[in-house]
């Protein structure tokens, strides 16, 4: 594995740059959950939580938790002025109905066609749980997956065909990893940016499907804290 891979925090920093000013955003489990801290200060984004919050703010300070005000990960949070509370059915009118501008989820596998598998590792113990990921994946105007490029055993997580249970088919627009930013296009995977010091050929080596790129691929930018 390359020693030049980005950290999870750096993946989150890069992903934060994908957020347009004013966007309504849902962040999933894992690396996506780190992104809120890296939103560029010059823009405002509005966080949606599928348990019924629009306008979620930072996590609650220790000692100031209100356990009726938690995010989808059960963490006590705050709200910003202009927030609204609603039921979970209305929260998913927003997800499934295509009202969220951008959603960023974690991933176990993403296929060449943009299929996403992110809810169960085959053979893992426990019932697993779908949660809101299927509704979010299907409805997002733009779906980004933020994940490590390779599994712990080094196997590619960007694959020709997902072998893990699917979350949704042909739903992913962009993959942001510790090696690259890759867009899913009708012509295949497009290598848009690469981590500093990495060569496109190296990214290809860690990726099962063929990556398209031409000439010099720009370096991944990172958001400042």
């Amino acid at each position: 594995m390359s020693k030049l891979r980005l950290t999870r925090e750096q993946i989150a920093q890069r992903a934060a740059l994908e957020l347009p000013d004013g966007a309504i955003v849902n962040l999933g489990w894992g690396i996506p959950n780190l992104i809120a801290a890296y939103v560029p200060p010059e823009i405002t984004v509005y966080f949606h939580s599928e348990n019924g919050i629009l306008g979620m703010g930072p996590r609650a300070a220790a000692g100031e938790e209100d356990f009726d005000l938690v995010d989808a990960m059960k963490i006590p949070v705050t709200v910003i002025p202009g927030a609204a509370f609603f039921s979970q059915v209305d929260a998913h009118v927003m997800t499934r109905g295509g009202h969220l501008d951008i959603c960023i989820l974690g991933g176990l596998q993403v296929s060449e066609k943009g299929d996403l598998a992110n809810w169960r590792v085959p053979g893992a113990k426990g019932a697993g749980g779908i949660g809101g990921a299927m509704d979010i994946s299907v409805g997002a105007q733009r779906l980004i997956v933020a994940m490590e490029h390779n599994a712990k055993d080094g196997s590619p997580k960007i694959v020709n065909t997902c072998t893990y249970p699917l979350t949704a088919v042909q739903c992913v627009n962009t993959i942001i990893t510790d090696l690259a930013v890759i867009d899913v296009t009708p012509e295949g995977l497009l290598l848009r940016e690469i981590a500093p010091g990495i060569a496109p050929e190296e990214v290809q080596k860690y990726t099962e499907p063929k990556l398209r790129y031409a000439g010099k691929v720009p370096e991944m930018r990172l958001s400042k804290l």
Binding site: V89, H92, G129
Partner: protein, 232 residues
């Protein structure tokens, strides 16, 4: 299943948790509100644990955290079937019994769980859904192309009884919730033959703002005021 309002639309208030759950029969299908530690009808759940009804069919986002929330019902072997979106890593007792083949599980995407309950409450028997197309969720379900896109048919989901948690009820049964403790509760209130609500506070009729009532009284059958009980 013989469950009814008993006291009619005009007198919904019970004085104890044990009284309000006393007639829940074995085999009942029960919805439980709550998500992420917020909005669980924990007093009603504890009451049901004491009451001892068995062979229960549970509809809930998750399946408890240790002994907390729904955990106690699994610990007591009161549940034989579950419909859930995210049983949860802390659902120890559920998991043990699932692994032992003592519980049947239907895993449902969270938004579709909500939507199926809403459909039941709204008199809609089934609807087409884009969620889960091409995944395990689609297994055994009718798939159909509508205007060129793939969808699967989802059935409405109702229950004999909904156990929900609200913040305040007036004496008629109008409800308001608190922040993210609203979650599944208002939907479940519409989707069960009998809705039982546990509230922090009961207020007089007219004290809730008619513009801000989330669950109108028509959906509420029994009310009990119960001291907060939270498993964090």
């Amino acid at each position: 299943m013989i469950l009814n309002r008993k006291m009619g639309r005009k007198n919904k208030i019970y004085s104890t948790v044990d009284a309000v759950v006393a007639d829940i029969p074995d085999g009942a299908t029960i919805m439980f509100g709550g998500f992420g530690g917020a909005g669980f009808p924990n007093n009603l759940i504890q009451g049901l644990a004491r009451q001892g009804a068995r062979n229960l069919k549970v509809i809930s986002n998750n399946c408890g955290t240790g002994d907390g929330e729904l955990g106690i019902l699994f610990k007591n072997h009161q549940v034989t079937r579950v419909v859930a979106a995210f049983p949860g890593p802390g659902a120890k007792h559920f998991q043990e019994q699932l692994d032992a083949g003592k519980i049947e599980l239907e895993l449902v995407p969270q938004g579709i769980l909500c939507e199926r309950m809403r459909a039941y409450g709204a008199g809609i028997p089934a609807f087409y859904s884009p969620v889960g197309v091409g995944t395990e969720v689609a297994r055994g379900k009718e798939e159909r192309l509508i205007r060129g896109k793939r969808y699967i048919l989802e059935d409405a989901l109702g229950a004999d009884c909904a156990f929900i948690k609200a913040y305040r009820a007036d004496r008629l049964g109008n409800l308001i919730y608190r922040k993210a403790a609203r979650n599944f509760n208002p939907i479940m209130a519409t989707a069960a033959k009998l809705t039982i609500v546990e509230v922090d506070e009961i207020v007089e009729v007219g004290e809730l703002d008619p513009e801000a009532i989330v669950t109108p009284s028509i959906f509420v059958d029994r009310i009990v005021q119960a001291k907060g009980l939270r498993f964090v």
